[in-house]
Amino acid sequence: MFDGLQSRLNDVFSKLTRRGSLSADDVNAALREVRVALLEADVALPVVKDFVEGVREKAVGQEVLRSVTPGQQVVKIVHDHLVEMLGGTPGAEEEAAREGRFGGAAADIDLNAPAPIPILMVGLQGSGKTTTTGKIAKRLSDKQRKKVLMASLDVRRPAAQHQLKVIGEQIGVATLPIVPGENPVAIAKRALSAARLEGYDVVLLDTAGRLAIDEELMAEVAAVRDAARPHETLLVADAMTGQDAVNVAQAFEERVGLTGIALTRVDGDARGGAALSMKTVTGKPIKLLGTGEKMDALEPFHPERVAGRILGMGDIVSLVEKAAETIEQDEAEAMAKRLEKGRFDLNDMYKQLQQLTKMGGLKSMMKMLPGLGGMQDRLKNAKVDDKVVKRQMAIISSMTRQERAHPEVIKASRRQRIAKGSGTSVPEVNKLLKQFAETQRMVKKVKKMGGMQGLMGGGGPGGGMEGLLPGGGQGGAMPGGLPPGFGGGMGGGGNRMMRRAGRRK
């Protein structure tokens, strides 16, 4: 399977020892890998070609910084270019997080128009239009205190209008009464006049799913547009969409005219290359992400997050979700509080090791962490498996309560006792203590930097979490430094993610 652009590029450049600037040959070799990586992530071919040319221009002749490998350098260029193409500013998210802002989102629904503001939802069959209509309505009415009316123009699919009505009841938003036999244009007109009469701020028009090549239905939606004159027309598209994304986006842009894109099912594990395809061919911003079936599973679009995902640099959100699924929230919050204060002892470390095993082990976590593509390989080479985690837990278990709270008391004789008690060796105990000390130092440093958020937002290659891994890959790569990342994310900066990790039912 695909294991990230980073490791592909590391292979390409493994022979390249000399430093200096990136030559045209280096770049060409790298770009071949970039091209395949993007195609595997479902970015459409013409978009890939464009993209690769853009990267080439930026990469040739660039100085390789002393601190990174050429592979990392190219990944950084690719990543930043991707963020820009997706409508973001590289590093903006990190910066916002450092300043304690919630930032990096590129665009949002525009409500700068006289009421009632019509918003038209269009897209292929089953892409998530009706659900997204409900989500937007809920957000506008709950958070922005707008008076919202929803109307279903879907006279085709069985129970489609009823579906929107039920959603309206669930979220407490009005829906236009259903008149059987009425056509979509008439429904749109009725919705708008009802909205004017009854003083609604926003009218959301949900339409039937249609194929971009279905002339008759594309003409129908164009007629609806002419009747409703929407202020926003959102293409609702599935994040799992393959190469066809360009055709679909182009067709809807040409026939209906879009103001933005809502990408659904981002809670899946698709790489989401469709986002880049659609943004590029339409030039229209991705405004919203659907992250679940529930009505509150709607998020602003974050270019950096999606870029990291397309490049296979891991998905920090999935990681946090997985953590939320398996870790007791109280415990996580308690831990986060301690970490925020810069406190971290061997009891904490033990808990984290325990959480790590609950989460399915080191390897499954590594996959989800941004910037750790290479780390995964290094771990493999170092033959580190989850047994190491178990042994480390055994070591800590063999300590007294006092030793765990005050590791500095663990001198030579105690180390011998602990090794014996845990069925390990003194060097192993030493290594654990050393890694503990490093992690503790890291925790203190993080505290100084102003909490975990600064580290969570990063996602960039070479930065972010990688820095949190003490001695990663040196034979004994061990998760000591890892858990604070998610521990802190859970309680502190990750609160927002926690909420969206809520399960349905």
Binding site: L39, L45, G126, G128, A212, Q243, D244, K505
Partner: protein, 315 residues
């Protein structure tokens, strides 16, 4: 509510299918023409070809394999676009032939239980409606179970399909336990001597383990009544889906022992090329394809027709 099953139906389904498939495949065909007009099959041409195959959702591995296969016999020779397309179509047909198998219903089971699963919005409920129509018309006693108790109006949607096709639907109120509903549906199907029970389920992403566990529970409770049930677990895939379809199949297969696939929305501009990669990796039978929203828009899967249309050749 307008009934879509009647519209544009009578044009002759083969013509429609052909038109739809041709429309959906033209890009690859055109691409091949672009590469090979007056050209040798050299490295550069092969690389371009490989990309084109990838761009039809065939995936990197399968595309490389197809290109390499072509190079074996024709490398550095002059080739025409037609020749390249025909050769590729033949290869793809060969890969797909073993998986083109219709759904076989065992009338002795009473009922033969088919559990229909898949990610959100792919067309599970619609496919059940279409299958119900086909099977009822073939004279079988069919029953439907509205196992999607989660999504708004999912039950009503299936009930409308039941009315359209004249097939009874076992349903409970929204929010009811899906496994309990499935259990009761099987009880009733047995009692009433149904030959085929089609169970709808809520859409779920394969990476949501708690939702997958729910699906496993449905399978478990069915087995309490009939150890051999469900006799088929149909995974519905959307032709628009890209490489993620591979993950979907792998996970659903592992967790609920999928026995076959249905690919929907092949009437769109998506080519469903990922099917070729799927056939390679999983060898699961493809029982049928969906080519529209109407009750009659379900077709048997033909390897050759699919392959030829994928390459932009006359079906």
């Amino acid at each position: 509510m307008a009934d879509t099953s009647g519209t544009a139906e009578k044009t002759g389904w083969l013509t429609r299918l052909k038109a739809a498939l041709r429309r959906s495949s033209s890009k690859l065909g055109e691409g091949i023409t672009g590469i090979f007009t007056k050209r040798k099959l050299d490295d550069a041409a092969l690389e371009e070809l490989e990309e084109l195959l990838i761009a039809s959702d065939l995936g990197v591995t399968t595309s490389a394999k197809l290109a390499a296969n072509l190079a074996k016999t024709r490398f550095n020779k002059d080739v025409s676009p037609e020749e390249v397309r025909t050769a590729l179509a033949a290869d793809v047909t060969e890969m797909l032939e073993p998986v083109a198998r219709p759904l076989a219903i065992d009338l002795a089971k009473r009922p033969h239980v088919v559990l229909v699963v898949g990610v959100n919005g792919v067309g599970k409920t619609t496919t059940i409606g279409k299958l119900a129509k086909q099977q009822a018309e073939a004279g079988r006693k069919v029953m439907l179970a509205a196992g999607d108790t989660f999504r708004a109006a999912a039950v009503e949607q299936l009930q409308i399909w039941g009315e359209r096709t004249g097939v009874p639907v076992v349903a409970k109120q929204a929010g009811a336990d899906a496994a309990g509903l499935a259990y009761e549906a099987l009880e009733r199907a047995k009692r009433e001597g149904a030959e085929l029970l089609l169970i709808d389920t809520a859409g779920r992403l394969h990476n949501r383990s708690e939702l997958m566990a729910e699906l496993q529970k449905i399978v478990r409770v069915l087995k309490k009544q009939d150890e051999t049930a469900p006799h088929d677990v149909l995974l519905v895939l959307d032709a628009t889906t890209g490489q993620n379809a591979l993950q979907q199949v792998a996970t659903f297969k592992e967790l609920v022992a999928v026995t076959g696939l249905v690919v929907t929305k092949l009437d769109g501009s998506a080519k469903g090329g990922v099917l070729v990669a799927l056939a390679e990796q999983h060898k699961l039978p493809v029982h049928a394809v969906g080519v529209g929203e109407g009750a009659d828009d379900l077709r048997p899967f033909s390897a050759e027709a699919f392959a030829r249309s994928l390459m932009g050749l006359e079906v």
